[in-house]
């Protein structure tokens, strides 16, 4: 293999280290600095412009007054330096909902339709165009947005949905969402985008007729589970009914399956939303223990930690779960938050020495992190 190609391969793996840690608070700080510097530059430019104009005008006046020769041309005063002008802001089109949530219509011909509006469920459809949606957190109400092939369920977050030819997608700006497409469920966190791919969907339909008996059998079982009553109710937004069905199954097939991480997380959501955090924690413990290799395990560990921390008052268990989340994805988007929360929970649990060591790790790992000053204090550096 040529020398440079070997280097390319090594660089491909290493380039992940060339991504700066940028937290939203860093961006806000940079924006504030930009505005301060911009204001100073405008003042300097304006002052320089005034002086330049005055100097040139004085020079012109000098030559005009001194000159007795009519043919001497007048020196034109140049225009003052351009001052930074604020950019124009296009008018925003925003739809407000009664609970404080809002949808910003990003394109001229965006059409939103409200399908259901109840104390437990607000369901919209993006018929066409694009909308950026900010949802006010409400554990008692499900906020659902649908497109032609996708269903997005949120619990307090900001995301953008596209429903256009060749572009049906959702991008999460803050928080997390669950996206459903046929039989699949995806968890998206801040910074992730998923796009519906019609070519792949066509592939799903083509594979089915060639299924073997084993596939047919597992698909039949999957079909039974898919139609388990509690799941159907949860997917329809009837969370309380889903919880009751989950706890009173008609058959063993209708209990959440421990070999399906997505089903476990849905069950955890149902339990959590209906005020049963301990049961939610059980589902998430199973998800993390049995599916450590699944990308969803990180989110399960993080959610479990939050339940321990905020709803069950178990800081040591919360700290251990945050640690697990970090171990599962040390360079993931949740790693920094998980470390911060682990440190806080270790402190609450009376493990000050451990918290101090972790705080040093934070300062080393995230020198520009949003909590770096606080962590320096904890670490005593």
């Amino acid at each position: 293999m040529p020398k440079h190609e070997r280097l390319e391969q090594r660089l491909d793996a290493a380039r992940v280290l060339l991504v700066p840690q940028v937290h939203p608070s860093d961006t806000e700080r940079a924006l504030r600095r930009f505005k301060d510097l911009g204001a100073r530059r405008r003042r300097r430019t304006a002052v320089a412009g005034v002086f330049a104009t005055a100097a040139i005008a004085a020079t012109a006046a000098f030559f005009y007054l001194k000159s007795a020769i009519p043919s001497s041309p007048a020196i034109e005063t140049p225009a003052p330096s351009v001052v930074l002008a604020p950019p124009s802001v296009p008018e925003k089109k925003i739809v407000h909902f009664a609970d404080g949530s809002q949808a910003e219509l990003l394109k001229e011909k965006t059409e939103l339709r409200v399908d259901i509006s109840s104390p437990e469920l607000l369901a919209l459809t993006v018929v066409s165009g694009a909308a950026k949606i900010e949802v006010v957190p409400n554990p008692n109400r499900l906020f659902r947005v649908s497109t032609e092939h996708l269903r997005i369920e949120v619990l307090g977050t900001a995301f953008t949905v596209y429903q256009e030819a060749g572009d049906e997608s959702v991008t999460v700006h803050r928080g997390r969402v669950a996206v459903y497409s046929k039989k699949d469920r995806y968890e998206l966190v801040q910074g992730m985008t998923y796009r519906y791919d019609e070519a792949l969907d066509g592939e799903v339909a083509a594979v089915k007729p060639r299924s073997s008996k084993k596939i047919r059998k597992s698909r039949a079982a999957a079909s039974n589970a898919r139609h388990a009553k509690w799941k159907q109710l949860a997917e329809d937004g009837q969370i309380k009914e889903a919880y009751d069905a989950m706890r009173s199954p008609r058959s063993p097939e209708e209990t959440p399956r421990s070999n399906d991480v997505r089903e476990l997380m849905l069950a955890a959501d149902v339990a959590r939303l209906t005020g049963h955090p301990a049961e939610a924690a059980e589902f998430l413990q199973t998800a993390v223990a049995n599916h450590r290799g699944d990308p969803n395990a990180v989110l399960a560990a993080f959610t479990l930690a939050r339940i321990y921390e905020r709803q069950l008052g178990a800081p040591k268990k919360a700290a251990d779960s945050y640690r697990t989340a970090r171990e599962l994805a040390p360079d993931g988007s949740l790693a920094e938050d998980a470390l911060v929360h682990e440190i806080e929970c270790r402190t609450s649990a009376g493990e000050g020495a451990k918290a101090k060591v972790l705080a040093k790790e934070y300062v080393s790992r995230y020198p520009s992190g949003r909590k770096v000053e606080e962590m320096r204090r904890i670490a005593g550096i």
Partner: protein
């Protein structure tokens, strides 16, 4: 046995925050927030100096602010900002080379890297950026766009404003130097 079908959704943005589609923005502040991380990433990769990223970002957005009123297609904001970033990076790299000639500049180092980072990768990057310091600014920028950012030659030509043959020439200069230093 038939293979299980792939899921009909695909992830188009990873943790690096790169998006393969520009979303319209409502104001310059919105533009800043949306692309701050992108510009910071380009800055780190081009300059190889973490301590300089903040200033680099300020320079890029200042130039962007000046030209904001003439940006005709908001959906092309990402490509536009990348081009500005590359221009600013070339300018800064030339200043560094000049300062280095006068003995007034220190070596580039893309670190410090996070605790727990793969040490072999960290060492590789430190060495690569040491070698990149030996290159002319444009050759270095072209090489970084090709092998760190992963751009195709045509994309590099577009973002740098160079002709394709010029891009190839710069890339050859850079590749020859790097291959010479890294050896087998």
């Amino acid at each position: 046995m038939a293979e299980q079908p792939t899921r009909p959704l695909r992830l188009v943005r990873d943790e690096e925050g790169q998006d393969d589609r520009d979303v319209p923005f409502a104001s310059f502040d919105d533009l800043f927030r949306r692309y701050h991380r992108l510009v910071a990433t380009i800055g780190l990769r081009m300059l190889g100096r973490r301590g300089e990223i903040d200033d680099f970002v300020q320079d890029v957005f200042l130039e962007a602010h000046r030209g904001y009123g003439s940006l005709r297609d908001p959906l092309a904001a990402k490509a536009w900002l990348r081009a500005i970033s590359v221009r600013i990076a070339v300018r800064r790299l030339r200043r560094h080379r000049f300062a280095a000639l006068l003995g007034l500049d220190g070596p580039a180092d893309p670190g410090p890297f996070p605790v727990g980072a793969n040490q072999e990768h960290a060492a590789l990057l430190s060495e690569v950026y040491r070698v990149l310091e030996l290159l002319p600014a444009k050759a270095r920028v072209v090489w970084v766009l090709r092998f760190i950012e992963g751009d195709k030659l045509e994309e590099i030509a577009e973002v740098t404003g160079m002709g394709l043959s010029t891009v190839k020439r710069h890339l050859q200069v850079a590749t020859d130097k790097i291959t010479e230093v890294f050896g087998a």
